[in-house]
């Protein structure tokens, strides 16, 4: 389906609800519709054209256009472009119709916009808080532009979170907020009958860091790549690339080819060590620690390699808008190749071992089912969608960096279960080895040193860009509306866990308690990547935060 066909479809069906359209960047179609037509517009895209819903972005544009903007983002994967449905809400009484009844996956986006910007969505099936803490005061909206990023509103302990009522004959088994096999804070409240999960409730966002607010209010374009990289401790480079691509898109900056290849290599190295990490964690969740220990042993040389190439094991700090900060020299190429070959060999052994392990298959097969339709409904991404036989991968669908020049397969499975997701990840890693090798070949041919484009002009205000980068966990989407004073007006990050995590509530229903951790694990969740040690004195109410250095010193043996 071409952009023209979509436009005429929308125009014909929406009639007077259709306001205008633009194409800010070649791969985007921007359609402005009236609020009362937004549900129909979204339904047409989601149901009729089978476009994939990405996320809804809210933006406080009262000072620009006297409105709150809400953008529903869609991707036409096979046609390689994005469509945005732009809806305006009244600046004083922002109320819009909810699209969650049409697209289940919009649930979180709308709740988030309500929490952070105060735009109400009429008819939302679950209007509870999502992002804000329970004790955050009512009607204080932190992402509005008149809310200072460093202000601390007084606590309002009245707002207890209203969990669902117990279904009859069930007991509550709490998994979270801190649970041993979930590495980070998240709360799945299971309503169980014996061993069977009848219903589930979720509360999360315990460690929201307000990074988007910092980007809109405090940091500059050159600083944000570094904070973007800290969004995730494992796939940080993805966020970093996503943000740089946004600005490069919006301002039309051309990146040197060599930098593209270097970015691709780092992205794939990240995928390799992330999938190895995941396989280990998955093994650990079901008690198979040999898998954990062996995959993490294999992973270690890749981490060392990354440190050698960038200066850091993780959080490389390699990217700037316009290119990368360090070259991978021709002299370094053989070593990278050697490490990749060694890991490739060991990974094949892992594949063989896992494939034929009957007990492993007993635990993973036909568990945590999410089929193709459900996946579309919840807008699942990455290995979760690919294991539901959806051929979707932003590396192919929205090529960026050097992915247009390398040859690789998109791995899918049709089992819809945890086993499928496992197989997809293992095979994907093998594709990653291939991609890195091809990029290394290219590095040998391109001239050394040409790795960054200098930016002389200011980034113009009012530009819009969307970037989709395939993280190990799935597609990572960033949205940017450029602003004045050298920073975004609105920067929205939609990490892959954001659409995938709600699917867990679908997947665990009817399963056994024993399967819940591995089902959650199978989406490779990533919540906040924040570790912080606080000690609260219950008598005085004082809180002391321990620094990294103090914690390090504690772990050292006293001489």
């Amino acid at each position: 389906m071409t952009k023209q066909e979509i436009l005429s479809l929308l125009k014909a069906k929406l009639g007077a609800g259709f306001i205008a359209h633009t194409e800010p960047i070649p791969d985007q179609l921007w359609v402005e519709v009236k609020p009362q037509a937004s549900v129909q517009a979204v339904e047409l895209l989601h149901r009729t054209t089978k476009a994939r819903y990405l996320v809804s972005v809210g933006s406080d544009e009262r000072e620009l256009k006297k409105r709150f903007g809400v953008y529903h983002l869609f991707s036409f994967d096979k046609e390689h472009f994005f469509v945005t449905i732009d809806v305006s809400a009244d600046p004083h009484q922002p109320v819009l119709p909810s699209i969650t009844n049409v697209i289940a996956g919009a649930n979180w986006s709308e709740r988030e916009i309500r929490d952070l910007l105060g735009v109400q969505f009429e008819g939302h099936p679950d209007p509870r808080r999502l992002v804000l803490a329970d004790d955050w005061p009512n009607e204080v909206y932190p992402l509005r532009r008149d809310f200072d990023y460093s202000s601390k509103p007084p606590s309002n302990p009245e707002n207890a979170y209203p969990f669902k009522d117990n279904p009859p004959n069930t007991t509550v088994v709490a998994m979270g907020p801190y649970f041993p096999v979930f590495e980070e804070a998240t709360y799945f409240r299971l309503y169980v009958e014996g061993e069977k999960v009848v219903d589930v409730d979720y509360r999360g966002f315990y460690a929201h860091r307000g990074i988007e607010k910092l980007g809109d209010a405090s940091l500059t374009y050159n600083q944000i790549p570094f904070i973007a990289e800290r969004i995730c401790g494992i796939c940080g480079f993805v966020h970093n690339v996503s943000f740089c691509k946004l600005v490069e898109h919006a301002a039309g900056i051309k990146v040197p080819r060599r930098a593209d290849y270097i970015r691709t290599i780092m992205l794939e190295l990240e995928r390799i060590h992330s999938h190895a990490l995941w396989l280990g964690v998955a093994g650990h969740i079901i008690g198979f620690d040999t898998v954990l220990m062996q995959t993490w042993r294999m992973r270690e040389p890749i981490m060392w390699l990354c440190e050698k190439l960038t200066g850091n094991r993780k959080t490389y700090g390699m990217n700037l808008i316009g290119g990368v900060r360090r070259d991978i020299t021709k002299a370094q190429v053989p070593e990278v190749r050697k490490k990749i070959d060694a890991m490739d060999k060991e990974w094949q052994a892992v594949l063989d071992a896992v494939k034929d392990d009957t007990t492993l298959r007993m635990r993973l097969e036909k568990v945590g089912i999410l089929n193709r339709e459900q996946s579309h409904e919840w807008a699942a991404v990455g290995p979760v969608a690919r294991a539901a036989d959806i051929d979707m991968d932003s590396r192919k669908d929205h090529p960026y960096c050097a992915y247009d020049a390398v040859d690789f397969k998109v791995i899918t499975a049709d089992t819809n279960d945890v086993w499928g997701r496992t197989v997809v990840r293992i095979l994907e890693t093998i594709e990653s080895f291939k991609i890195v090798r091809q990029c290394l070949d290219a590095l040998m041919e391109l001239p050394e040193g040409d790795i960054i484009t200098e930016i002389r002009d200011e980034i113009p205000a009012g530009r819009i860009a969307i970037s989709a980068v395939e993280a190990p966990r799935g597609e990572d989407v960033h949205f940017l509306l450029t602003g004045g004073d050298n920073r975004p007006y609105r920067w929205r990050v939609r990490c892959p866990t954001y659409p995938n995590l709600p699917t867990v509530q679908v997947m665990v229903k009817g399963e056994q308690v024993a399967d819940v951790p591995i089902i959650l694990g199978s989406i490779d969740p990533c919540f906040s990547c924040t570790e912080r040690m606080e000690v609260a004195d219950v008598n005085t109410g004082k809180i002391r935060v321990y620094s990294q250095e103090e914690l390090f010193n504690w772990t050292k043996r006293k001489a």
Binding site: E195, G283, G287, A514
Partner: protein
């Protein structure tokens, strides 16, 4: 008098030597994992450390540390029935007493789980019960098979008979069944389902801490030795006809071998779900019954 000395030796062995065996098991697991692993003596330090800690207990607890003491006592008492050298320290006890004591020890674990008042404890207890239903028949049938074969109910006499005549087809089959049952008896993977760190955070033991928890752990470590000794003596009596020091050496070597095998199975398997474990153990019960039938027809 001599039996009193033997009893003291047996209890000391179960309490103070068995952690070493646990240390060997952990070292071996580390080897499979490509790890260096903890020091051999780590289980001792673990127990000591736990014994020295505060005993934080759930406010719902009614029984307190009682099940922990009773459980460990039952395991030690069961140990007195296992032959040490050529006779058991408590020679007049038979396999029925042994079965009661072992079952009582797992009942104590269930009591502790229910007593904790935590949903993890309840789920753990429910799983422990289901496991017991299928695992204890295996132990029972396997021991009865040897009893039929040796025309005796006392472990000392059974061991002596086996030592002379060697194992037969029936006892080997039931011995293998018992070996498969040990994994669940000792809460090892793939059958550590009642504890299931992954989903139940220790299940029956979720609310345990300090000295109480140490007693449970100690009990499991002692149980490991008891089961290994029974397997080694009653079901796999080879090499036959050894006396004196050599018999002891062979005994120790076999016990270590069994523990290492248990550790190997533990290391190369994920945890099964309770329904899968039940199906598996029905199969093991059938296997034990086959052994019994062979014994009845004289094989």
């Amino acid at each position: 008098m001599q039996s009193l000395v033997k009893m003291i030796i047996m209890v000391a062995l179960l309490l103070f030597v068995s952690p070493l065996l646990e240390g060997i098991l952990r070292k071996f697991k580390a080897l499979v994992h490509s790890r260096i692993g903890p020091p051999l003596l780590q289980p001792y330090w673990d127990i000591l450390k736990l014994l020295g800690k505060d005993d934080v207990r759930s406010p719902h607890s009614f029984l307190g540390p009682l099940p922990a003491f009773l459980g460990l006592a039952a395991i030690l008492a069961a140990g007195l029935l296992v032959p040490l050298g050529n006779s058991a320290p408590f020679a007049s006890g038979d396999l029925f007493l042994f079965l009661y004591l072992i079952s009582f020890a797992s009942v104590c674990v269930m009591l502790a789980g229910m007593d904790s008042g935590s949903p993890y404890g309840f789920l753990g207890t429910a799983r422990e019960m289901m496991t017991s239903f299928v695992v204890e028949p295996v132990l029972f049938i396997a021991l009865i098979t040897v009893a039929i074969k040796t025309h005796n109910f006392r472990f000392s006499d059974m061991a002596a008979y086996q030592q002379i005549s060697g194992a037969s087809l029936s006892t080997i089959i039931s011995g293998l069944a018992l070996f498969l049952g040990i994994q669940a008896q000792l809460s090892k993977l793939p059958f550590d389902i009642p504890e299931a760190e992954g989903e139940l955070m220790g299940g029956t033991f979720a609310e345990m801490s300090g000295p109480t928890f140490a007693l449970y752990r100690w009990g499991f470590i002692a149980k490991q030795v008891i089961f290994s000794m029974i397997l080694a003596q009653l079901f796999f009596p080879w090499p036959l006809g050894l006396v004196g020091l050599w018999a002891v050496v062979a005994q120790i070597a076999k016990v270590i071998l069994i523990v290492v095998l248990v550790g190997l199975i533990d290391a190369v398997n994920p945890r099964l779900r309770i329904d899968q474990a039940l199906v598996y153990y029905f199969g093991v019960i059938l296997m034990a019954i086959v052994g019994l039938v062979f014994a009845l027809v004289g094989a």
